[in-house]
Symmetry: C3
Subunit: 247 residues, 3 copies
Amino acid sequence: MFSATIDATAFRNALASVEVLVEECRIHVDSDGMRLRAADPALVALVDLTLDAEQFEQYEASEAVLGVNLERLSEILSVAETGDTVRMEFDERSRKLDVEVGTLSYTLGLLDPDSIRDEPDLPDLEPPAEVTLDGRHIDRGVKAAEMVSDHLRLAVDPDRETLVIAAEGDTDEVLVELGRQEVAALSPGPADSLYSLDYLTAINRVIPRGQTVTLELGEEFLAGFEFVVPEADQPVTYRVAPRLQRA
Amino acid sequence: MFSATIDATAFRNALASVEVLVEECRIHVDSDGMRLRAADPALVALVDLTLDAEQFEQYEASEAVLGVNLERLSEILSVAETGDTVRMEFDERSRKLDVEVGTLSYTLGLLDPDSIRDEPDLPDLEPPAEVTLDGRHIDRGVKAAEMVSDHLRLAVDPDRETLVIAAEGDTDEVLVELGRQEVAALSPGPADSLYSLDYLTAINRVIPRGQTVTLELGEEFLAGFEFVVPEADQPVTYRVAPRLQRA
Amino acid sequence: MFSATIDATAFRNALASVEVLVEECRIHVDSDGMRLRAADPALVALVDLTLDAEQFEQYEASEAVLGVNLERLSEILSVAETGDTVRMEFDERSRKLDVEVGTLSYTLGLLDPDSIRDEPDLPDLEPPAEVTLDGRHIDRGVKAAEMVSDHLRLAVDPDRETLVIAAEGDTDEVLVELGRQEVAALSPGPADSLYSLDYLTAINRVIPRGQTVTLELGEEFLAGFEFVVPEADQPVTYRVAPRLQRA
C-alpha cells in the first residue's frame, strides 16, 4: 500500500537528481519514507536519495517497490504550477500509479521492478579529505575542464590547503584552485583522483548554485558529492568511481 | 481597392491564429472589414476570423480577394516594435501588397487566389453542450494528452456536470475533469467525441492563457473553439471534425 | 614580453567583434596596446580593433605577435561574472598564454602566427558619404533584406537626403529609407553599392542596439562600419567590399 502527497516542485527536483544518471528506477517505499537509489548502466556512478515521511503532506505506505520511468513521471509533474501538490496512490491490483496534479489525473503504468537494474550497495567509506563549497565553484571547474579534456582531477593540496580542480588537454591546461577563503570548510588529507567528465557534467546539472555541496575525496577514491535537493530539504548523495591516473 | 492601417501586434496575432492551420490564405476584404477563413489541407479543421473595419486606424476597401503567404507576412510584421502600426496598400496593377512598418517598406508579391484551396462553409450548428473556461485548462489537458496518445476525448459528464478532457495510451491514462467551480460557465448536454491531437496542439499554440475560451461540444460533433484574439479584440473560431471512436 | 589585466566583459566584447569574421587571429602587442586586425578567408571583409594600453588595469608589453584561437579564448572568458577581470601573461619559453579569470587558471596553447592568414592593410579612403545612426536601424534593414535576398544595397539619395537600405527578391522588395530626423548625422554624396548579406549579417550580430554606428559609403565602395565596442570604450572598424551591381 502506498499513498502520498507532496509539494510538486520538491518532488520534481528530487526526481531530477536521479534522472541525470538513470531513466528507470526502483522506488522503495515503507512507513519511514521513500528511497531512490540507482547506478548508471556502466556502474560508474551511483545516486542515493531519501524522502522522509515527514517531508510529505500526507504519507502512508507498507513496504513496496515501484518500477518507475522517471522521465515520464517528471513530464507529468511539469504541468504543475508553483505551489501545486502532487498526490500519488499505488493501485496494487492494476499495478499502476495514480498521479494527481491539480485537476489532472494521470494513471502511470509501472515497470516490473525486476526488469530494472539492481542498485549496488552504497559503501560506507571514511573519506581522507572533505571540502564543503558553493556549487558555483564546481560548475566553473567542470565547465572549464570540458574545454580541454574528457576527465577532471579532484585533489587536495595538503601544503597549500587548497582544493584543486584540474584538467589537462593536448595543448591547454585548466586549473581551479580554491583556498580556505573560497570554500566553506576544508579538512585536508591525501586526495588525488581522476573522474570521467561524463558523470560530473551530469551531476553538475542538478548541483544548486549558491548552495553548499560537500565533496568527499581521496586517492583513487570513490568520490562523494552531497547536497540538499532544493525545495525537498533532503540530501542527495552521488558516488563516482575514479579512473586510472596516467602513469 | 484596399488600404488599411492597424496596430502591428493585433494584426500579427490575428495572422498567427490562421497560420497554425494553413500557410497560404485568401484574405477577403470589403467595406465592412477583412475576413480570413481557411481549412487545413486534410479538411479536418477550419478557422474563421473577421477584423471589422472599426478595428483599423484607417480602413478603405472595395471587394477584393488577396492571396497571401501568411508566414512571409508574419515575418515582415516581426520587425515591428510594441506600439508600431502596419500600413497596407494593395497595388492593383502590380498585384502586390505594399506593407509599411515604421521605416520599413515591403512590397509583398501576392499569390493567385485561385491557386489557394477553397475554404469550406462554416456550418451553423446548434451545440448540445457548451463550456467556457480559462485557456490554461485546455493547455494543461492537451499537453497531458500528448504524453500518452495522439488523440484526445472531449466530453461532458451530465451527472457530475463536469468537462472531461481524457486520453488513453497503451499503459497510461490521462484525465482532466473540470467542475463548475473550475470553469466560467457550463451548459451540459450529450457530448463525447474524439479529436486528433495534431489539430488541438496547433490550435492550443494560439489559445491565450488567462483568457476565456468557449468550447462547443457534442457527440461525434464538429467541435467549436472560440476566443478573442489578443490585442485584436475580435473573435476567432475554429471547427475541428471528430475522429471515429473505437467501438 | 606581455602581461595585462582588463575587465573580462570588455575584453570578451572586443574579441567577439573580431570573431564574427575569423576564428583565428594574430594579436599584435607593443607598449602602446593591443591590435587585432583580420580579414575573412574570402578577403571580402576586414576588421580592425585597437585596445590602447590605457584601457587595461595593468599593461606591459614589448613587441610581440600572438596567434590566438578566438573561440577558445572567448570560451575561457565566458566563465567570468560581471566585474571579473582577466589577467593574461605570455610565457615566451612555452609559447603559451596564461589566462586567469577569478579562481580559474587556463594555460592556452598559442598558434604559430605564421600559420594564420596575413591581414591586409586597411586602405585610407575618403568616403563620399557618411551616415551616423542607431544600430537598431541597421538591424532592421539587415533582417528585412534577409527575407528576400542574399545581398543588400546601401545608398544615399542626394535629393531626399536619406539613407537607403534596400533589397530585391524575385517577387518581393524591401526598402528602409531614413531621413535626417531618423539618423544622428548625414553628410550626403554619391553612394550606391551592393553588399553580400553574409558579411553584413555577421557584423550586425555585434552592432550594439541603441548606440550609434557610423557608415562610410560610396559608389562601388569599400563600405566602412565603425562603432564603439560596448564596455571596451574603443572603436572597431569593419570594411566590406562591394559586389558588382547587376547591369
